[in-house]
């Protein structure tokens, strides 16, 4: 063997060893617990969608000298698996973590992953928020795991030009007067269809969403978290109301390509809008349709779709400082600022009475006073109890069954059967 080949072999061996050892060292654990009362150099905040915290975080940095890293994830669908990984492996979670109502419920089932905020925040703030929203932030064992951020109170977005073509009123109060209840909404839709031959509302699942949250009683679970999907009056009411409207539906389920394409094509003239949906309606409809949309009150009043809380994971090294930051981000002034920045609707009672909030108008939607409309709608939201797998039951059992009926794939009875059967497996925990 020549010297050169031996050298190169040794070099290769060393390289291999370095790679191997380096790879192992990278998995090392740096477990440095901070001393009691020590001030953190940095806090991490995890949010999804647009919560409007960019400026607020900068302000907090200036006031306290603590550096804040704001990690934003666009979609909840990507956000949830990441969060699950952090919790399952016990590392990586942000100090302040936003939880959406759908995922909050399932995380409540294992409350020990979250710090109890009760001793960490000032005791008076409990009365600052919508009472039901505050209560939902508590786990079954009583610990407070989330501070309320926003709420998704419902309104109806409607196309003024299409309403006019069908001979319907276009002014938002007159439109709201067309549908004091769901029956009125159905009749308006039928009138519209008669005049134009086109569908009125995007889908019956959108209708069911509205009805479901107006019932003010238990939905898929009772208070003891037993699945009551097949006997719950609220679910049955939503099912009956929604399925009756199949004749005015464009059968374009929310988020489908038919749905997002439908905004530009005018396949439907009305859809349900929580305040966070306004931006999505505007994006899907495009600049060409600016000023054609308007916002009116929802039939039956109230209703809720979405909304979030801020929580502190148990694995956070600075739970006290994290709780203070969460408290800051959810106080009245911050919530108004966030609403003005990106639209999440306040849950803080002070913020809901704030002049800046109430006088806010939305340019894209014909300058509709969205602050006032949504603000009034918030007061009418009926608190409901959502069980641990509410989101799974709704997404994977209730709505698919309803769509199967809507598309003519199953009779109404068969579809109901499909729902009640799937609700058992989807709802088990």
């Amino acid at each position: 063997m020549s010297l050169t080949t031996r050298r190169s072999r040794m070099a290769a061996a060393t390289l291999a060893a370095i790679t191997a050892v380096g790879g192992l060292a990278a998995c090392g654990n740096d477990d440095d617990t901070p001393a009691e009362g020590e001030k953190p150099a940095k806090l991490v905040v995890d949010t999804f969608g647009e919560m409007g915290y960019d400026e607020l975080v900068k302000q907090y940095e200036k006031e306290t000298g603590i550096k804040i890293e704001l990690r934003k994830t666009a979609q909840l669908g990507e956000y949830r698996p990441k969060l699950v990984r952090y919790l399952a492996t016990g590392k990586g979670a942000a100090d302040v973590t936003a939880l959406e109502e759908g995922i909050l419920n399932e995380f409540k089932a294992n409350p020990r992953n979250w710090a109890d905020l009760t001793p960490l925040v000032s005791s008076e703030i409990a009365d600052d928020y919508l009472p039901w929203k505050w209560e939902l932030g508590k786990a079954p064992d009583g610990r407070l795991i989330g501070l309320p951020t926003d709420v998704g109170s419902l309104a109806v977005c409607y196309r003024k030009d299409l309403f006019e073509a069908a001979g319907l009123p276009t002014e938002r109060d007159a439109v709201a007067a067309l549908w004091p209840d769901w029956n009125g909404f159905h009749q308006t839709g039928q009138k519209y269809k008669q005049a134009t031959g086109k569908a009125f509302v995007d889908s019956i699942t959108a209708v069911s969403n509205g009805v479901l949250f107006q019932q003010g009683t238990d939905l898929f679970y009772d208070k003891e978290n037993n699945i009551i999907a097949d006997s719950s009056p609220a679910v049955k009411a939503a099912w009956e109301t929604a399925t009756s409207m199949v004749d005015i539906s464009a059968k374009a389920s929310t988020w489908s390509p038919e749905w997002s394409g439908g905004f530009k094509q005018g396949t439907f003239a009305a859809t349900f809008c929580p305040s966070w949906m306004l931006g999505i309606v505007a994006d899907n409809s495009g600049e060409a349709n600016k000023g054609k949309w308007d916002v009116a009150a929802v039939p039956g009043g109230g209703g809720n779709w979405g909304g979030s809380w801020l929580a502190v994971p148990e694995q956070s090294k600075y739970p006290e400082e994290a709780a203070k930051l969460a408290e800051f981000l959810t106080n009245a002034t911050s919530q108004v600022e966030a609403f003005k920045a990106k639209g999440p609707l306040p849950t803080n009672l002070e913020a809901l009475k704030d002049e800046a909030f109430l006088s806010y108008t939305n340019e894209y939607f014909s300058n509709a006073p969205t602050g006032k409309i949504f603000g009034e709608s918030v007061a009418k939201i009926e608190p409901v109890h959502l069980g641990p797998k509410h989101q799974a039951v709704k997404e994977n059992a209730f709505e698919p069954a309803m769509r199967a009926f809507e598309n003519g794939q199953a009779s109404k009875d068969k579809a109901w059967e499909q729902f009640t059967k799937d609700a058992q497996t989807q709802g088990a925990f």
Binding site: A13, A16, A17, P81, W255, T267, P400, A404
Partner: protein, 322 residues
């Protein structure tokens, strides 16, 4: 894991005063080098395989024996998950869907690939390199982009395919509402992406067939068609079976296309018309946090199905080789 024993050979570079000890050390190093270096060279593969292949597999097997909550408790329940799986209607539904889409994508795809490979193999064809590269292009496109674009083409209200069908008087089809139509749509995506890839592999196989066989056949008066059947196809069998195995593994793991076709709904269609096995595994193991153990059992079932199908292929290969 300690590798230090094999990584610290005495350095021969130090200036030694005594040449005989230097020679002996050189000899020792040579022996160590011969004996252990090979292991060191292959170590990175085994480390990586162990970390990202073997460990997850064993861990999944362990999980599948538990009632495993991703962020909560784990209770040992033995083979209960597997017992439940055998009678799980939706598992069998996913299995049938997977095989249905697999058949609709693999059979036309391989026939098409065979046809195209034969065309590209013609001696008279001009601009060969251009065609060979062009046919591979779909495979380079990201699978998500393919699924999103095809999802729009197969849209019910404004989709291109429905528009084309309407020109010949066929009614609007809701592609996502039946099994046959959704399977066809998903199989189309798979075919579009993988036909070119398989064509190239088959083409390589065809070019390895000795030319003198064709010349001899031509002298004996065999037609082009006859040559294809009697020479190309039999000689191509091993390549063909390789392609089938690759398609099988891909087909059993089909996930992104049906998921995006369903607008991200993990149950794949209102009545699970096109939920594949991989989607069912995801639904149970990852979407639903409290049934991770059951999801792990589904993962192992998929693994065993792939092993089974590969074994069948293996038997076919041995037959073909005889």
């Amino acid at each position: 894991m300690s590798l230090s024993a094999t990584t610290a050979p005495p350095s021969p570079a130090a200036p030694p005063p005594d040449t005989s000890s230097r020679r002996r050390r050189g000899y020792l190093f040579n022996r160590l080098d011969l004996k252990y270096s090979p292991y060191l060279y292959i170590a990175p593969f085994f480390l990586i395989f162990g970390t990202f292949g073997l460990y997850p597999m064993l861990r999944t097997a362990w999980m599948s024996l538990h009632d495993w909550d991703m962020i909560g408790d784990h209770t040992f329940i033995g083979l209960e998950n597997y017992r439940e799986l055998v009678t799980d209607e939706y598992f069998w539904n996913a299995l049938i869907n997977t095989f249905g889409i697999f058949a609709l994508s693999t059979i036309p795809q391989l026939l098409m690939a065979l046809f195209l490979a034969n065309l590209l193999n013609q001696t008279l064809l001009r601009a060969k390199t251009f065609f060979r590269m062009a046919i591979f292009v779909p495979n380079v496109v990201s699978v998500a982009a393919v699924a999103i674009v095809f999802g729009m083409l197969f849209q019910r209200d404004f989709g291109l395919f429905n528009w084309l069908l309407s020109l010949v008087g066929v009614d609007q089809i809701d592609w996502r509402a039946q099994e046959w139509s959704s399977w066809t749509a998903i199989a189309t995506m798979v075919n579009w992406r993988w036909t070119g890839y398989n064509t190239l592999i088959l083409l390589a196989g065809m070019q390895a067939i000795p030319k003198d066989l064709y010349e001899a056949a031509a002298i004996d008066g065999a037609s082009q068609w006859r040559q294809f059947w009697q020479i190309t196809l039999p000689m191509l069998k091993p390549t063909f079976i390789f392609v089938v195995i690759l398609s099988t593994i891909g087909g059993m793991q089909l996930f992104t296309e049906p998921l995006l076709f369903a607008n991200g709904s993990i149950i794949g269609g209102n009545q699970r018309e096109y939920q594949t096995l991989a989607m069912y595994m995801y639904e149970k193991g990852i979407y639903n946090l409290s049934t991770a153990g059951y999801g792990a059992a589904v993962a192992w079932a998929i693994f065993m199905i792939i092993v089974l199908v590969s074994l069948i292929n293996f038997v076919l290969v041995r037959r073909a080789a005889k």
